[in-house]
C-alpha cells in the first residue's frame, strides 16, 4: 500500500487527513464507545445517576420475550426480503440477458426504483394497501379477503416485506445482469451444440457461475433489510401491531428515543454493531476470494 514515489512533507499529510479523522472520531468512534460504555451501565430515565451493572443489560435483553420476538421478526423479515427480491430480480435478469437487443431498454426501466427512498416506497405501498382508501385492499375485500395490516400482524409483515423487497429488486437486478453478461458466450454455445436445453444450460452453467454474485448479494440484502428499512417500518407500522414488525433497528430507536431506556438501547446497539461487523468481515473475506478467481 502507498506509492514508491512520495512527497516529503511533515505537516501536510496530517492536515489532509484531519477533516476525515475529526468527523470519524467525533461522530463515529466516540458515540460507538459511548454505546459500549452505556451498555454496561444502568441509568435512571432522567440521567441523574447511573451505576455499573456489568453484562446485566445483555442478560436482561436475552431473557426478555419482547427482544427475542424482535430478533425473530428481524430474521424472518430480512430472509424474506432477500429471497423475494433476489429471486424476482434473477428471473428478470435472466430474461433481460436473453433479450439481447432490448436489454438496455429493460435495464433502464428496471433499475430506477433504486433511487426511490425506502420511506417513499413504504408510503406508496401503504397507499395501495390502506384498508379505507387502498386499491389492492379493496380488491382483496371484493374477493372475500379482509386486509387490515394495523390489526393483523401477518399482513403487516407481508406489507413491509413487499415494500422493502420492491425497491431492492433494481439493486439485485443490476448485479445479476452484470454477472450473467460476464459469462463467456462460448460456454453457452458449446452446451447448446451438445443439445442442452435453455433450462438445463441455466442450471448447469449460468447458475453456478453466478454463485459469487449471489453470495455477495445475500450479504448486501441482509445489511439492507437490517438497517436501511427503518423508514419502511416507521412509516407503515411503527413496529406494530403488537410487535409483529418490530425489527431490531426500530426497537433500538423506540426503546432509546421514545422509551428512554438508555442502558437497554445501548446494549441493543452493541448487538447490532456485532451484526454489522460480522457481515462486513464476511463480505470482505468474500471479496478477497473474488480477487483470486
Amino acid at each position: 500500500m502507498g506509492k514508491r514515489v512520495v512527497f516529503k512533507n511533515k505537516i501536510l499529510p496530517y492536515l489532509l487527513v484531519a477533516p476525515q479523522i475529526i468527523i470519524t472520531l467525533v461522530f463515529f468512534i466516540w458515540p460507538a464507545s459511548q454505546a459500549l460504555y452505556q451498555s454496561v451501565l444502568q441509568e435512571d430515565p432522567f440521567g441523574l445517576s447511573s451505576k455499573f451493572v456489568g453484562l446485566d443489560n445483555f442478560v436482561a435483553l436475552f431473557a426478555d420475550d419482547i427482544y427475542l420476538n424482535s430478533l425473530y421478526v428481524t430474521v424472518i423479515f430480512s430472509f424474506a426480503v432477500a429471497v423475494i427480491s433476489m429471486s424476482v430480480s434473477l428471473l428478470l435478469a435472466v430474461m433481460a440477458d436473453r433479450a439481447i437487443r432490448s436489454a438496455t431498454t429493460y435495464k433502464a426501466l428496471i433499475i430506477w426504483p433504486y433511487a426511490v427512498a425506502p420511506v417513499v416506497a413504504a408510503v406508496l405501498w401503504y397507499f395501495l394497501f390502506n384498508p379505507t382508501v387502498g386499491m389492492v385492499s379493496f380488491f382483496l375485500h371484493s374477493v372475500g379477503y379482509e386486509w387490515d395490516h394495523s390489526l393483523n400482524g401477518f399482513q403487516a409483515m407481508l406489507l413491509v416485506i413487499i415494500a422493502s423487497a420492491w425497491r431492492e429488486i433494481s439493486y439485485n437486478f443490476l448485479f445479476f445482469l452484470a454477472g450473467l453478461q460476464a459469462i463467456p458466450k462460448s460456454f453457452i454455445e458449446a452446451a447448446a451444440i451438445d443439445g442442452a436445453s435453455p433450462a438445463k444450460r441455466f442450471w448447469t452453467i449460468a447458475f453456478p457461475l453466478l454463485s459469487p454474485t449471489a453470495f455477495f448479494l445475500i450479504v448486501m440484502n441482509i445489511v439492507y433489510a437490517f438497517f436501511d428499512t427503518f423508514g419502511v417500518i416507521h412509516a407503515i407500522t411503527e413496529g406494530g401491531p403488537n410487535g409483529a414488525t418490530n425489527i431490531m433497528v426500530y426497537k433500538v430507536y423506540s426503546d432509546g428515543f421514545l422509551g428512554l431506556d438508555l442502558g437497554g438501547s445501548a446494549a441493543q446497539s452493541v448487538i447490532l454493531m456485532v451484526v454489522v461487523i460480522s457481515l462486513t468481515v464476511i463480505q470482505f473475506r468474500y471479496i478477497e476470494r473474488k480477487i483470486h478467481y
Binding site: F7, Q34, M95, L174
Partner: protein, 280 residues
C-alpha cells in the same frame, strides 16, 4: 441467441414487460392519485390521471399539507441542501484523505487508514442515541450542519479514491517532481482532473444516499423549518383518526422521487459504474 425458439422469445418479453409493469405500478398509482381531488380518491379508485394535477402540486409546493407547518417547496430545498452537502462533503474529505494516505509516508498512516475503515462498520442505525447526544452537545440540533456533518465521513469513498490513485502511474508523479512541482499543485493539476469519472460515479451514488436519508433527520429536526421532504411526508401520514390528504401526500411523494430518479436516468452510466465499483 444460440438457437431460434420463438415461444421462448415471446416468454422472455412477456416476463420482462410484466416485471416493468409491477415495478412501475405503485408509482403510476401515486401519480394518478396526485392528480385528483381527495374526494375522488377516497370514493372511487381512478385509474387514469385527473384534472387536479397542477392544483395539487402547486398546493403541495406553495401551501403545504394542513398537517405539517412547512411547504413541500421549502422541505425540498432542505433535502437538496442536505443531499448536496453530504455529497460534496464526502467527496472532498475523502479525496484529501486518500491523497494523504497514498502519496505521503507519515507515522500513524496505517492507524488513520484503519480508523477510516472502521466507519464502514458503524452506520448511524447502530449508534443512534450517543450520536444524538454528541450532536446535541455541539448545538447541532435543528441546523444544516447537524444534518450534514455527522454523515459525511465515508470509508467507501476513501477506498474508491485510494483504489483509483493506486492505478495512476508513478511516472506522472516523478515527472511532476522533476519539473519542481509540489504536492498541492500535483493534486489540483493532475490528480483532480484524472479523478473526474470516479467523482461523477460517486456523485450519483452519494446524492441518492444523501437525499434518501431518513433516520438521522428524523432524530435531529424538531423544527419544521429544517424538515426534509421525507420527514414531512411521514408527518402528513400521521394524522391519527383524521383523513390523510392523500392527493397532497402523493404529490409530495412524487416530488421526493423526482431529483434522485432524474439523477439516475441522466447519469445512468455513472450510476452503474458507481454501484458496481463502490459495492454500495
Amino acid at each position: 441467441m444460440v438457437e431460434h425458439r420463438p415461444w421462448l422469445t415471446f416468454l422472455t418479453h412477456a416476463v420482462l414487460i410484466m416485471g416493468c409493469i409491477i415495478i412501475a405500478f405503485p408509482i403510476y398509482i401515486a401519480f394518478v392519485a396526485s392528480s385528483h381531488t381527495l374526494d375522488k380518491i377516497t370514493s372511487t379508485f381512478p385509474l387514469l390521471p385527473g384534472k387536479q394535477l397542477l392544483e395539487n402540486y402547486s398546493r403541495a409546493l406553495m401551501v403545504g399539507s394542513k398537517d405539517v407547518g412547512a411547504t413541500a417547496g421549502s422541505m425540498m430545498l432542505n433535502s437538496l441542501i442536505m443531499a448536496l452537502g453530504i455529497t460534496f462533503g464526502k467527496i472532498f474529505i475523502s479525496l484529501l484523505a486518500a491523497f494523504a494516505i497514498i502519496y505521503f509516508k507519515f507515522r500513524l498512516r496505517m492507524f488513520f487508514f484503519w480508523l477510516i475503515f472502521i466507519t464502514l462498520m458503524l452506520p448511524v442505525e447502530v449508534r443512534i442515541l450517543p450520536t444524538y447526544e454528541v450532536a446535541s452537545d455541539l448545538k447541532l440540533l435543528d441546523s444544516y450542519s447537524g444534518l450534514i456533518f455527522p454523515l459525511i465521513a465515508s470509508a467507501t469513498a476513501t477506498f474508491l479514491f485510494r483504489q483509483f490513485f493506486m492505478t495512476i502511474p508513478d511516472e506522472l508523479c516523478e515527472a511532476h517532481r522533476i519539473d519542481g512541482g509540489g504536492p498541492i499543485r500535483f493534486f489540483f493539476d493532475i490528480l483532480l482532473p484524472m479523478s473526474r469519472t470516479s467523482i461523477a460515479a460517486l456523485f450519483v451514488i452519494l446524492f441518492i444516499y444523501g437525499w434518501n436519508q431518513y433516520l438521522w433527520p428524523l432524530l435531529i429536526t424538531s423544527d419544521e423549518r429544517f424538515y426534509t421532504l421525507l420527514i414531512g411526508i411521514k408527518q402528513m401520514l400521521a394524522v391519527g383518526e383524521g383523513q390523510a390528504e392523500w392527493n397532497i401526500i402523493m404529490a409530495s411523494a412524487i416530488l421526493a422521487m423526482i431529483p434522485p430518479v432524474l439523477v439516475v436516468i441522466f447519469m445512468q452510466k455513472q450510476f452503474v459504474k458507481g454501484m458496481t465499483e463502490t459495492e454500495k
